[in-house]
Symmetry: C3
Subunit: 208 residues, 3 copies
Amino acid sequence: MTFDITAAVNIMGLAAVAVFAVSGALDAARQKMDILGFMLIGTATGVGGGTLRDVLLGKMPVFWIREPIWIVICLTASAITYFIAPRLASRTRALIWMDAVGLALFSVVGTKVALDFGVSPLIAICMGVMSASFGGIARDVLCGSNLTLMNEELYITTTLAGAIVYLVLRQLDVGSNYDLIGGFLVAFILRALAILFNIKLPNAYRNS
Amino acid sequence: MTFDITAAVNIMGLAAVAVFAVSGALDAARQKMDILGFMLIGTATGVGGGTLRDVLLGKMPVFWIREPIWIVICLTASAITYFIAPRLASRTRALIWMDAVGLALFSVVGTKVALDFGVSPLIAICMGVMSASFGGIARDVLCGSNLTLMNEELYITTTLAGAIVYLVLRQLDVGSNYDLIGGFLVAFILRALAILFNIKLPNAYRNS
Amino acid sequence: MTFDITAAVNIMGLAAVAVFAVSGALDAARQKMDILGFMLIGTATGVGGGTLRDVLLGKMPVFWIREPIWIVICLTASAITYFIAPRLASRTRALIWMDAVGLALFSVVGTKVALDFGVSPLIAICMGVMSASFGGIARDVLCGSNLTLMNEELYITTTLAGAIVYLVLRQLDVGSNYDLIGGFLVAFILRALAILFNIKLPNAYRNS
């Protein structure tokens, strides 16, 4: 129940939640919502993945009820986005990059929380992928957008890579949070390259 | 676990669930569903918000499994709506007003349940807003409609106002359920005025 | 917590999860997703209904965290579908029939699990209908498809029939899993006839 702001997993978690909240708020901007709409969509996007993770594991009340700091982060990030978004050259571009950072952070943090809970490695990877994807799914459903995870450049691949790299580094016991940072870097660089160079998995269906 | 039908919070809760079920059934009417479709959508809309609230708080089994009366209310209200809806001059208009009543009721009931559970005021307000909005979100997603909470006249503002007014009145200890009634009235009147006079929050994005 | 692979309810459950996973993967094929997309949508469709059931009942961690075999089944079925789907004459037709088998299986399995948990018959039927419908709802929302449960031939009716027939046979104590098989057969035959002969419930709204 105690919240250690200096722990790497919490710093990365707070950053993940904040950037996902910003991505949600940017989607609210595309829908021309008012400031409360920004805060609702931003908060749902920011805490959505972790909430699903806690519910599936049975860690209730969910994390942001136990530690309201998470909600404060989301509300603040969304409200700031409301005032900054009009100055952005491309809100869609900003949304994609915020989403990419959050995705990479969540894939390692989600996997770590599940492993610490005592689940098997296979389930931990599934939880990492799910908790990283679900915030964006909630955002897209609430905004009526096309789902970002579909037809996207290495989107699910990114979360899978982050989860697996973290898991392997953790088993190797590299220590002192290098496992978290390593998983994040691999996932983020993979997604960044995919966005910049439009890389996709080979797919027998795309041209059919 | 005992259910006191004379308690104000339960009367308001039953009314909220019933009018939300009717709003869900009216949306099913727009989609030309059969009577079982009415009952499924109506029930999901009616109990959706409270179910999310219970799951997030960890109050399981959720309320309608503990007290099946809630499901009976939803099924009955939805089935009656199936036979009455064809006689309505405007189903969309009826849906909006049913939704407004449910929204105002849920915003105070959801906040009260969360406060009684022992969460902080900030989280209680979030739970009030979420539980009031989620039934409508479930309805709109299930029916493939545009989300009512988007671009709408003071929709989220209404739930926030209901939750805050209830919270303040409760802190002031006005007693004997005046806090619940006060929160409901402020929320409902605000939303009614917004619907009637098309009032919206100032929004830098609307004309951009 | 122990998993008895020879129990009829587990055999039927595994079959239900597998065919729902295939139906999800076939929807991913229509959306031209890559193999990881197939596995994500297939798994969400396969375990979605049972996950909702466990969460509402408060049986956490949910079943596939307790018994990872369910996830292995979904991932395998989805991956196999990725390679088989291009050879199918009609993916939409295959999806509808896989969905029909899963629907009939889930309606009895969901009702049984809820009854074994100790809920009332009314709630058990609701849980059967919900757990049978929710996998398909998750699939359709994730794929951006129209909801299969809407405007469909006896879709909700099927789940209701399966749940009620199972409940009655169980009360009659026909024994040795004949109740599960009876419920499944009634539900599947009803849905099959509805698909083949385009049978729908009488509906006052359809022609209005």
